[in-house]
Symmetry: C2
Subunit: 400 residues, 2 copies
DNA sequence: ATGAAAGCGCTAACAA
DNA sequence: TTGTTAGCGCTTTCAT
């Protein structure tokens, strides 16, 4: 028998099976139940003329019921075998798995989510994926989460707190199990973040959002700055200047504070030499115009973009980097290794940040009883490249 | 009345309402039904001692049923009002919307998806988010899709076809309505892509994957190359050399073919001057070592990364760009504007690519009857920067 | 225009 | 260990 003959009405012959080549091209056994569903779906909703050719190409989704029918046991048992939730007889398990394999069964995660009240989905909300620091972080997060069977719903906020709040709402409506969030703004994100944190486990990444709002994972900015200062001191720099970012963002505040705290070791006047703008290449260029006349021997930039701008402008001004002045960045974005001279910078432990964030998510099962907020700070690493080589040492081409 | 007194058993008093301040801090009316669910959830599953303090902080999810109870009409009516699927009395509609608002109702997208067989979710599968061309594309896609109420499930394949196939499987299990896919490899991705395309609408982006597999959207590589060649010809370059990528990827093949077809206009021998490696900075550096001895006056690189490497090596060799030799890229990644000299390149119409991809997705409702595959090619734009300025013209600093 | 009722595919009580 | 029975929250016939 090849295919049951049906003419406009759905036959009811339980137990009878049709044979058909499925989507993988291999012959599979269909439960009569599935045959009927295929039939119905081929009709619905706008196909009044009877089953189209399509019916012969399409098989209705294979469900637990099909597997149960095919393996001769109950739906519940099949569920238990496939979801591995409860002990099941070895023989039964084998039969079930075999049937599932043969039919090409794929659990419907939507149904599973509805019933179990867990989507296995994490929302990832970030200010702007085009910020060059984020892609590597996103990559690590994606891998960490997929490794534990969770999928990632991505939301890009366009650097706008209003959009951010809206995206958070959308993700909550889709019932993400948890949120991973890089807040757009220390203050203006707070309300939406706090409200979300009350509903699902939420971990703040990279940037803070006020105290006590949610768990957070970030690099130890102070330690990073200390690495830079130590390095510059060791290579004989004595007139450093900090080019940072204004505002309340944690990276901006902490890096500046660490500079001010540590720079006195190089020069008593150093902590006062601070210029604040934003985290952009343009600001890096502009800042050089402001500080270069006073001939600092090191420009400590709050991130790599600022440093890239600074390098660019210094070259235009004919300054010798690192001969006359060293330049350092923060983050170690891909651009850093490509700049000329290659940029000395502080590498964020992106993989560990992601792993730690994933770990925090799993360990916060009860939103009703939040417990104390946890803050994790991870140690960064100094990457020394040509832009801070001691004066007089020949420059080494750095690899990407 | 403040809160029903309950002592270890669930009371059943339909129609009675509790009052409570919800998660937004505002006072909301709770249906008795919701009160009971809150109670049950506070117990379950591992809370034998009775309702914890948590019960006073948490409100069970507000459902259609609550809204129906509160507005005095049936669940079906509420659904129709809120989903806007069918005409509903103006007065009823108002009452319902008001109740929904008051209770802070948020439709459960999971339940909706299960019932309506549409998750409103699109899978975005890409080779590596860290490839600097992708973030801006991802950004545009995210915005285009969110604008039509769809959410994005992100999958990063680590440039591995096996991972790619696995990710596609995961997304299909999560019942994405459609897939947006940048294939890892022209050939090795084909099987998984074809199989996926048979199950859901699928649009290939940026790269092809063999003919007839799926709809696709990409930049017109030939047109882009033509723009470059015209520009170089117009600025007097006569000894161009192409630095491209080997392999079957569409970008590699098409850009090279376009060069070979168009370069003869500059120099009859030009089409033969082709070096092939991969799309990396390292290859750009290496390629310069191979071609520089023959003193070309233009290096036409197949993408910006190659061009960045070429610029770097040329500077190390002391070559004058653009005086002695012009360098061009392709894609216009952020790095291009930051290179020194800033890189002349071909900008991909990222926003339009995203819009077009989203459009194709919506217009493919029946996977049963695929119809002919559609291929969309979008026109790129030449961005002239310092790296190809005519020899002798003073260099202009380019902004980021 | 509205309501009652039947599921979507699955998991989780509760029995047996 | 296994089966039976209820739903998860929603949309969608089918009546009214």
């Amino acid at each position: 028998m090849d295919w049951p003959v049906v003419n406009g009405s759905i036959p009811a012959r339980p137990g009878v099976f049709g044979t058909k080549s499925g989507r993988c091209g291999k012959e599979i056994q269909l439960s009569w139940d599935n045959v009927c569903r295929t039939f119905q779906q081929a009709y619905a909703p706008s196909d009044p003329g009877g089953p189209s050719e399509g019916i012969r190409e399409t098989v209705a989704e294979v469900t637990l019921k099909d597997v149960a029918l095919a393996s001769g046991c109950s739906i519940a048992t099949v569920s238990r075998v496939l979801a591995g939730t409860r002990p099941v007889g070895a023989e039964t398990a084998r039969t079930v798995r075999e049937a599932a394999e043969r039919l090409g069964y794929r659990p419907n995660q939507v149904a599973r989510a509805l019933r179990s009240r867990s989507t296995g989905t994490v929302g990832l909300v970030l200010p702007q994926i085009t910020n060059p620091f984020f892609p590597s972080l996103v990559r690590e997060l994606e891998h960490a989460l997929h490794a534990e069977g969770r999928a990632v719903l991505l939301a890009d906020c366009d650097d706008d707190p209003v959009t951010e709040a809206a995206r958070i709402g959308v993700l909550l409506g889709r019932r993400v199990d948890a949120l991973l969030l890089i807040p757009v703004d220390e203050r203006r994100s707070r309300e939406a973040v706090a409200s979300a944190a009350a509903q699902v486990p939420l971990v703040l990444l990279d940037r803070g959002c006020g105290p006590g709002i949610a768990d957070s994972v970030a690099v130890d900015n102070a330690a990073g700055m200390a690495l830079v200062l130590d390095h510059l001191a060791a290579t004989g720099r004595r007139r450093p200047c900090f080019i940072g970012a204004a505002g309340t963002a944690s990276a901006a505040v902490e890096r500046r504070a660490a500079y001010e705290a540590g720079a006195a070791a190089l020069d008593p006047a150093a902590p006062g030499r601070v210029e604040l703008g934003d985290f952009s290449v343009e600001w890096g260029r502009a800042a050089v115009d402001r500080v270069w006349p006073s001939r600092p021997d090191a420009l400590i930039c709050a991130n790599d973009l600022i440093a890239a701008g600074a390098l660019q402008r210094l070259r235009q001004l004919g300054a010798d980097v690192p001969g006359e002045v060293a330049v350092t960045g923060f983050d170690d974005i891909p651009l850093a290794g490509l700049a000329d001279p290659a940029l000395t910078t502080v590498r964020q432990p992106v993989g560990e940040l992601a792993a730690e964030a994933a770990r925090l998510l799993s360990r916060r099962p009860s939103p009703g009883e939040p417990g104390p907020r946890r803050t994790v700070r991870l140690a960064p690493q100094l990457v020394v490249r040509a832009s801070s080589a001691p004066a007089g040492v020949p420059r080494v081409a750095d690899c990407f």
